[in-house]
Point group: C2
């Protein structure tokens, strides 16, 4: 447990200033409103180590891939969401001395993120080198209601003398990414004019404008500009005990939403409107907007304050990162909390995040995530064509921002193709949860059949075996490479072939006009194509070890020396830091759920004993060196009733960042894996599933918890499910709904209590 | 066939000036004397496209590896032999107009490389923009006798008027590599002083000095220096038809052979001694030295002028590249002809080049190549330790210059471990050919047992199979990656284990003092270690397909779609340019000899039918997209009597560069693969082998050839073997020797003729 952060159910709280923690706190206290976000950098100048980061979703730079020897088919670039202008800046000087926490004596320091309303507050008392003591309160938020507005209130109180305080709020667009393959700057200035900075990204040509409007107790500001920078400066004389309060309203607009020549005016207007509304009204607006966001997605854990704080932090970060207002946006592994992984889209979205948004934000928001992929279908077809696939086969990228592949390791790009399965599964998952089969006719089928075409070509016939095989893949366990017949990939591929055929039949029968449109657009010959899919499904090789009663992760897995994680010297872990890549590849150790990922997704296909045997075999060999791993194992452990294991695994995900297990949170938070933590709670301990259109629950409470209550959005209703040792209680807002609890079906009108 | 180069048995000849061929001719006409070399750049200024290149063997720069995502165990750098000072420079101006072939009218142009003596001559007649016609003759060589001396004679004859000719010979150390990972310059100046430039390589800290001494018909030179450059300038007035002749003697010394503070004097002395000896005497010295080099290694082919020129060119390039005078030197894939592959050492040396030097230069020269690896043994042990191997196991690098691994693709570095086998095999090959078993006691055994230790750890026990397996390797066929049980690697590994045990027994029995020294130094416990080696050899899994009667390249190879090269659209070739890497990996196509490489090395282990079945199966799937591939297939084709195939394959290697099949000779010549061409002739068509210490021949002449005669150096003698359709004739210089021809043994006193 992290002794540094205070445990609080609704807040992150830091109660002292530790220069060594500045960067990790910058990640943890990051703000986001779904379309932009940034790290919790200080507003005033700070000369100590800091990772400055402000990001505008989907504004990216294609950073040319850096490799030793080029291989055909390498992605040309890695797209990165850019570090954008530092809009929060407020330089402060007290009697001519610049306020800089690295250079003054910090007498008191308090920082909180109020997760209920997404407001960051910092209060501190410092002694300047010149001796003056001052108190500072800085409050900041990104408006959820006004997506292009950022607000700062910065108040300074001299405590022991009258002081001259200079406030110098500024916007600085002269910023760089730390992570740049060729040490390039990605932005270039378009114009700096009065209170607005305009910049353009190189190569990708996005434009953005930042404007500020400021007030300070009626003081007059002098406005100065230099390249890529605007600044307002005012000086006030302030008696001891009196407070000078600056309010800063920043308009942050990009060419995603405005014509380039209207950007400056748009940014100015956002800032001016903010100023007109005033800080207090904006703060109320923020509180109301966030209250609506939290409605339908809170989790309450009684008896475990750390778990409570941990899961709220996860939900909060996910809510800050994605709101479903724009199909061009998605969820980067670090959200808006850092540069790593470039803010681009991985299969994390479909495999982990989609169920969270489905159940907490509702069908419309989740649907935006699917449409993101639908919009990129033609790019996925191009991507497959680059690898030699034909006839409209689609391979979705491992990493993308605009539909083009941009991961830069060939062994991932080319071989970790199971992501295609996750994208098809997301369509299924969405339809299963929402009942919205229309989506198949509108968008889903095109995606499904294009993915099925890929599998039908990628799977090949082995004359030697008399079966279909899938050669040269990498499963979710990235501690293997170029293996044959990865069970998970083959299993999900077969499932895709079946589901695509079912979806085609449904659309043909139910939406003939859409069916005709799709057949024409995609050249789909259902009869011939589904017949081939069927043949593959029937004769697909899926590895199994009958003696052990387990599915085989890949050909030859049992040829490896079978060592267990329990036998591994803890000093050797994490092996991805301690071992050579070669040694990792040769070992039987598993990075993250692989066979078990498949069993998790297709639980209904396997009996409990099969799940138990596979779980025991693979869990003993799994290192969980991906943040996406323990959640899946936790859910399965709960399913087979191994609650001790489930809780142990859950603890590794839920406070991963808060407790900084991996000593890397300064790079950013593991946002997508937070969705996995949510899954562990709701699907693991709550045992929630959808079966035949009915929401079912099979709660298993960890020993340490008195109760678990979670809210889910289900087909237009908000359900609150509270599990205690004695009973399961379900409350329903909206139309009555059928639910299943521990195998029995009930209709919930408003409230239901089922004793255990 | 290349219509551009004239076919001549002893010369490369170019008879016109083609600006588009300048760079490819720079590669083909390159000079080398075994310790340094350079491309055939023009002495005078040339403003057209040109790849300047002068290289000093073993003077390298560790260029930091460039990758996208770092993996543990990646080599830190790729060592490159550097482009060093341009020592050949002679600026020439005619009546104030600079001579530059890109800007004058070239009336006549003739260039030849006389392979018999390694002298490059260029004659041309040009019309200057000012109208003056002049004739130029430039002769250049790198002295074989004086390893640090380069010589240029540059003669200018005004043809139609009296002209003022300015000669400005210079040395320019301000040079860069084209191939630099971070666009860095690798050299920095130490001092430029009078007639000497001194520079130091960054990071690696090699120093070198270049000095020039010049004469010009008694004219006086003015000496000027600028940073990293020295220059002498003289102007002569020359009547029409009279010739002004500059001689330039360059001393090129490095800290490999001199203390840094003595370098300038050393270079000056080399240049001054050259000048004192004079051009004509140096040229005679060169002719004599090269005559000695050619003695014992020429090949004469009657009836096929192109083949004749092709094979002489191969031998010539190999002789220019390595002479065995310094154990720090080795043979880079491009020799001294270009920057690509960094001039560093690959397994090419042991697998292809060693047999050439053994048979043409004698035991002492070949031994130097073995000692190079012996000297790097401790680095190979460190290299293995980085990958997690213990107890003195050695993994020789895939690419190295100083013993450290510096290849920058993990899938090669970590997995293409068969090179270790080639290095052990080279010891065996050397001892077999020379009979010098002493070498085992002196150096060989230490290398062998350290390699055996590696295999004994790298091979693991498969509980599932009840056999030993070798997982996660890449065989010589680099169109696969991370495969299990590559037959070639497993086979050579087992052979290493057996041979190391035999060598240990030989040293123990015959050289007890060395045995004791080695046991102590390497902590060798013969009993326990060889017992383990024996167990592995007995229970090693080696894949076989009994139905087809072939060895299996790797697990799962027959699961691939079995397509033949004959079925492949020629427009898709070479697949390494036309296909994505992924598609290549998944296909059954083979880049270069893999199973057949093993069958070639261990021919005596297999009957002719087995060889024939494997040859037919794998040749049909092999694309030969490595220059090292066709030679091995050619030898086996000859062995099984498929002469048409053998000749077809031979043609792909012998004139690869002369005819520029791959349109890339401008980057440099395929020097190491030239050794493969030699092997095709001598082992393929000559059928030469060593069996039980006896040299044996089984000639198979291609249809097109009237006769083939080759010289080999064998245990102190020079044998000339001439094969015609009627007979085999062997002449022996030195002690009588036993040979075997077509299965019958003969003693050759001076001459032998065996009718077919």
């Amino acid at each position: 447990m992290n002794e540094y952060l205070k445990t609080d159910p609704w807040k992150l709280v830091e109660e002292r200033f530790d220069p060594l923690r500045v960067e990790s706190s910058e990640s943890l206290f990051a703000l986001g409103n779904g379309v932009m976000g940034g790290r919790a950098n200080f507003e005033e100048h700070y000369s100590g180590p800091s990772l400055q980061g402000n990001y505008i979703g989907a504004v990216y730079y294609p950073d040319k891939t850096r490799v030793g020897w080029w291989k055909n088919g390498y992605p040309e670039y890695f797209a990165k969401v850019l570090n954008a202008a530092f809009w929060i800046g407020v330089d402060v000087a007290i009697d001519g001395e610049r306020l800089d926490l690295a250079r003054v004596e910090v007498l008191d320091f308090y920082r909180e993120m109020d997760m209920r309303r997404s407001v960051l507050t910092r209060r501190m008392r410092v002694r300047m080198a010149g001796g003056a003591e001052v108190a500072v309160e800085a409050v900041r938020f990104l408006s959820l209601e006004r997506r292009e507005l950022g607000v700062v209130r910065y108040a300074v109180t001299p405590l022991d003398r009258t002081a001259e305080i200079e406030f110098s709020p500024y916007i600085d667009a002269d910023v760089r990414n730390t992570d740049a393959n060729y040490d390039e700057k990605f932005w270039e200035e378009v114009a700096t004019d009065g209170d607005v900075v305009r910049s353009r990204t190189k190569k990708s040509g996005f434009e953005a404008a930042w404007a500020q409007a400021v007030t300070l107790d009626g003081a007059r500001f002098r406005c100065t500009t230099e390249p890529e920078k605007v600044r307002h400066t005012a000086v006030v004389r302030c008696e001891a005990g009196r407070t000078a309060t600056l309010c800063k309203y920043a308009g942050i607009c990009s060419s995603l939403n405005h014509a380039p020549d209207e950007l400056a005016d748009a940014a100015r207007a956002v800032a001016a409107d903010g100023l007109a509304a005033g800080f207090d009204a904006l703060l109320r607006e923020q509180e109301e907007a966030w209250a609506r966001r939290w409605h339908g997605c809170d989790i309450v854990i009684e008896g475990d304050d750390e778990a409570q704080q941990g899961i709220r932090f996860c939900i909060f970060m996910l809510l800050q990162t994605y709101t479903g207002v724009d199909t061009r946006l998605n969820i980067g592994p670090k959200g808006f909390t850092g540069e790593k992984y470039g803010g681009v889209t991985y299969w994390d979205t479909e495999a982990y995040c989609l169920p969270f948004y489905l159940a907490t934000a509702g069908a419309e928001v989740a649907r935006e995530l699917l449409v993101y992929r639908y919009d990129q279908l033609d790019k996925a077809i191009e991507n497959a064509a680059k690898l030699g696939f034909r006839d409209g086969a689609a391979l979705y990228p491992m990493v993308t921002i605009n539909g083009e592949e941009c991961h830069n390791e060939w062994e991932i790009t080319f071989e970790e193709i199971h992501r295609n399965g996750a994208i098809a599964y997301a369509v299924f998952n969405y339809v299963r949860y929402t009942g919205d089969e229309e989506y198949l006719a509108e968008c889903g089928l095109e995606v499904l059949l294009s993915i099925a075409r890929f599998w039908a070509q990628r799977i090949t016939w082995s004359e030697a075996r008399g079966q279909y095989v899938m050669l040269g893949v990498t499963g979710p366990n990235e501690y293997e490479n170029n293996v044959n017949n990865n069970w998970y990939t083959s299993y999900i591929a077969c499932w895709c072939l079946r589901y695509a055929a079912e979806a085609a039949a449904w659309v043909r029968e139910n939406r003939p006009a859409d069916y005709a449109r799709i057949c024409a657009k995609r050249g789909f010959d259902e009869g011939a194509e589904t017949a081939r899919w069927q043949r593959i499904v029937e004769k697909m090789y899926l590895g199994e070890d009958r003696e052990r009663g387990i599915f085989l992760q890949q050909d030859g897995y049992l040829d490896k020396e079978q060592v267990l994680v329990a036998d591994l010297d803890p000093a050797e872990r994490p092996i991805n830091q301690k071992w050579s890549w070669d040694r990792i590849l040769r070992s039987c150790f598993i990075k993250q759920a692989d066979v078990l990922q498949g069993i998790y997704l297709f639980q209904e296909d396997f009996d409990l004993e099969t799940i138990r045997r596979n779980f025991r075999f693979y869990e003993a060999r799994t290192l969980h060196e991906s943040s996406l791993s323990p959640c899946v194992h936790a859910i399965l452990a709960a399913k087979i009733g191994d609650m001790e294991k489930a809780y142990e695994l859950y603890l590794r995900t839920a406070r991963l960042d808060l407790d900084d297990y991996n000593r890397e949170v300064e790079e950013g938070c593991h946002v997508t894996s937070m969705a996995g933590s949510w899954l562990s709670v709701v699907e693991g301990f709550g045992g929630m599933r959808v079966k035949e259109g009915v929401l079912t629950f099979a709660p298993h409470l960890p020993e340490a918890w008195r109760s678990l209550a979670f809210k889910v959005n289900y087909r237009g209703r908000v359900l609150t499910v509270k599990c205690t040792r004695e009973a399961v209680e379900v409350a329903c807002e909206g139309e009555p709904v059928e639910v299943e609890i521990a195998g029995v079906r009930y209709c919930v009108d408003r409230e239901l209590r089922v004793e255990n």
